[in-house]
């Protein structure tokens, strides 16, 4: 088991290295001059040239990448003398449009994304697994058909559309909640909840749909398994069989996908954060796209990739604990 985990972690690191190379090359190939973006339109050519040297964009691409990679582990210093500044490790670069270290920016925005992801995750697991179980237990009846329609709408409507519909209907047409405005939960918990509840619902509605389908199909499949028949034959109550035999078996693939979905969300819910103006990592990324802020783009892409790759490792390892059949092999 220890060997397995070490091996998986090693490959994960290798994969992240490959991701960093591709990301860096991809964004460096974009037709933007990062140095020209460091100051406004009335910028003098000398200042642009000076900034290019200061931020290291005058060096060849391979050296730039090496400095980036080194910065992650030992931090990075920019410029010399009076104008010098540094981004401590783990440094992902310096944002020339927001004049801050990328790591600092991500550190500021990540909590928002984390709150958003955790709340949405809890909500969608309850809705998804719950409605999937109801559909499976009432196969072919109206509950099943309703769940099916819910799934169809949820899996394929664009996020921005669902988000805006939720926002308009609750805030503007019904007027139940005031317009959301994000505040830190430590400073104003009421405002925080008001800003979070609609994005949570939006993400939950959209994501729960596929969990409804997974739970329903997983349970129906498990009900035909021999071990469930054995449970019934042993004289266990329906409740126990459903909970300990059917659900447990149906949950294995769900845990896998839930882990990956949650990780993908932690990398920034771009559209949801934009629609509800939440100052999270997704909003940071979108702003970076608009401003062609390459260091931020590389940084958020890398952080998102780390979450995805890590989740993959965790899911792989947890398989053994969840499914006794995997463990025995």
């Amino acid at each position: 088991m220890f060997l397995f985990i070490t091996r998986r972690l090693f490959f994960a690191l290798l994969l992240l290295f490959a991701v960093s190379v591709v990301t860096y090359l991809l964004f460096s190939a974009l037709p933007v001059d990062p140095a020209a973006l460091t100051c406004g339109k009335n910028c003098k050519p000398e200042l642009i040239a000076a900034n290019r040297v200061r931020l290291g964009y005058d060096k060849p691409l391979v050296e730039q990448y090496w400095l980036f990679l080194k910065g992650i582990f030992v931090g990075r210093d920019y410029g010399m003398g009076q104008a010098a500044f540094s981004c401590p490790a783990p440094s992902l670069g310096y944002s020339f449009s927001q004049h801050e270290c990328v790591t600092t920016l991500i550190g500021k925005t990540f909590p928002v994304t984390a709150f958003l992801s955790i709340g949405a995750f809890i909500l969608w697991m309850f809705i998804g697994v719950g409605s999937g179980a109801i559909a499976a237990l009432n196969k072919g009846k109206w509950q099943d058909r309703l769940a099916n329609a819910f799934t169809a709408i949820g899996v394929s409507l664009p996020t921005f559309y669902v988000g805006l519909l939720v926002l308009f209907s609750v805030v503007i047409w019904l007027g139940i909640l005031p317009f959301p405005h994000y505040e830190s939960p430590l400073e104003d918990p009421v405002k925080f909840l008001n800003a979070m509840i609609l994005p949570w619902i939006t993400l939950a509605v959209l994501s729960a749909a596929s969990y409804t389908r997974l739970t329903r199909n997983g349970m129906l499949e498990a009900m035909n398994e021999d071990f469930v028949r054995l449970g019934v034959a042993k004289g266990l109550t329906r409740r126990v069989v459903l909970r300990k035999y059917v659900m447990r078996s149906a949950m294995v693939p769900i845990v896998t996908i839930a882990g990956l979905d949650f990780a993908a969300l932690l990398g920034g819910a771009i559209i949801t954060e934009s629609v509800f103006s939440l100052p999270g990592m997704g909003k940071l990324s979108i702003r970076a796209v608009v401003e062609s802020d390459l260091p931020v783009l590389v940084g958020t892409t890398m952080v998102a990739a780390v979450f995805i790759v890590l989740a993959n490792v965790i899911v792989d390892i947890s398989y053994g604990f969840l499914d006794p059949r995997v463990r025995e092999k």
Binding site: F160, I286, T300, A305
Partner: protein
């Protein structure tokens, strides 16, 4: 099975009359699909959408509407549609676009052309790549499989939406420099291309898994033993058995690409005006949510209905192709 040579002709004919005719798995699947009335209705809706999209110019000419003609008379002094429900009238059946007075029914029909084209093309390209890579990976195994597997991991590790958004402008420009007409053709090409770049993985994984188990089956072994080449085995033995899962993936993924187009249009990176697409309409309509809520629902409902139809058909196809489905009830 059909009558063997030893059976008397008349007996065989009689047997045929008693309808003990054999049915291929494909015929069985069609029979099962046809029993599903909801699915047949959904298939009818998809056909209707496709026909409307194909014949949009004809229909518009007959109805005397145009997706581009500005109609200032249909707007009030604030540039908003006159009358209730977004200016729905005998002339404009679904009302008009705020600001321009363009007919929404015409724009919806023309928009279907763009959205369905993007959806179908993205699905075809993605699926084609996915099948080829998946079959090679599963059939050849070994080193090729390992290399493809690493590529799969790499593709999955990227936050796809962020990259799709970030790369829109530069890659569209590059496509234009390659000679693809500027503006919408280049943008459509980009959406199809980038959907394929991130989408092939999902098809390939499913196809690979199926191929891995199929290649060990007796009928493939038999074909190999009788001297069939790789090409023959892939096309005649493996492919017919892969269609089931491929069709299901296709019907379930198609709406996702329509959604991608609309998300980019919403962010101002999709279709350029005056071209209509459902995504551009959705993105545009949210700006008038307060003054003209009807506009918000028209492209939305059109999209939901299509998406629902695709999902129902996809599920029905999966059920119909499922060999575990009960065979006794089929007449």
């Amino acid at each position: 099975m059909s009558a063997s040579g030893t059976v008397d002709q008349s007996v065989a004919a009689e047997a045929h009359q008693n309808s003990i005719a054999s049915k291929s798995p494909f015929q069985l699947a069609i029979a099962r699909f046809q029993r599903d009335r909801v699915a047949k209705f959904a298939l009818g809706i998809i056909t209707f959408y496709v026909l409307v999209a194909l014949f949009a110019p004809v229909i518009c000419a007959v109805l005397g509407i145009s997706p581009y003609r500005l109609d200032g008379d249909a707007l009030n002094d604030f540039g908003l549609p006159k009358g209730s429900f977004g200016g729905i009238s005998g002339e404009h059946w679904l009302g008009v676009e705020p600001g321009t007075g363009r007919d929404l029914l015409a724009r919806l029909m023309y928009g279907a052309r763009v959205s369905l084209f993007v959806g179908f093309m993205a699905t075809i390209v993605t699926t084609a790549i996915g099948i080829v890579v998946g079959v090679i990976s599963g059939y050849k195994r070994g080193k090729i499989d390992a290399v493809i597997g690493r590529f799969t991991d790499l593709t999955l590790a990227f936050p796809s939406l962020l990259l799709i958004i970030a790369l829109t402008r530069p890659i569209t420009q590059r496509l234009e420099s390659f000679g693809i007409p500027e503006g919408n053709p280049a943008r459509i090409a980009y959406i199809i291309l980038i959907s394929a770049v991130f989408g092939w993985v999902y098809v390939a994984r499913i196809v690979r898994g199926q191929t891995l188990s199929l290649r060990e089956r007796e009928f493939v072994e038999a074909a190999r033993a009788s001297g069939a080449g790789t090409w023959r085995i892939v096309f005649k033995e493996l492919m017919p058995n892969l269609w089931a899962s491929v069709i299901v993936t296709v019907t379930l993924s198609m709406p996702g690409y329509v959604a991608t187009e609309s998300t980019l249009s919403f962010l101002g990176l999709g279709m350029l005006p005056p071209t209509a697409s459902w995504g551009a309409m959705l993105g545009d309509s949210v700006r008038y949510y307060r003054a003209d809520p009807t506009y918000l629902f028209i492209p939305g409902i059109a999209l939901i209905v299509l998406v629902l139809a695709f999902n129902i058909v996809g599920d029905a196809v999966r059920d119909a192709l499922d060999p575990k489905a009960d065979r006794q009830n089929i007449a």
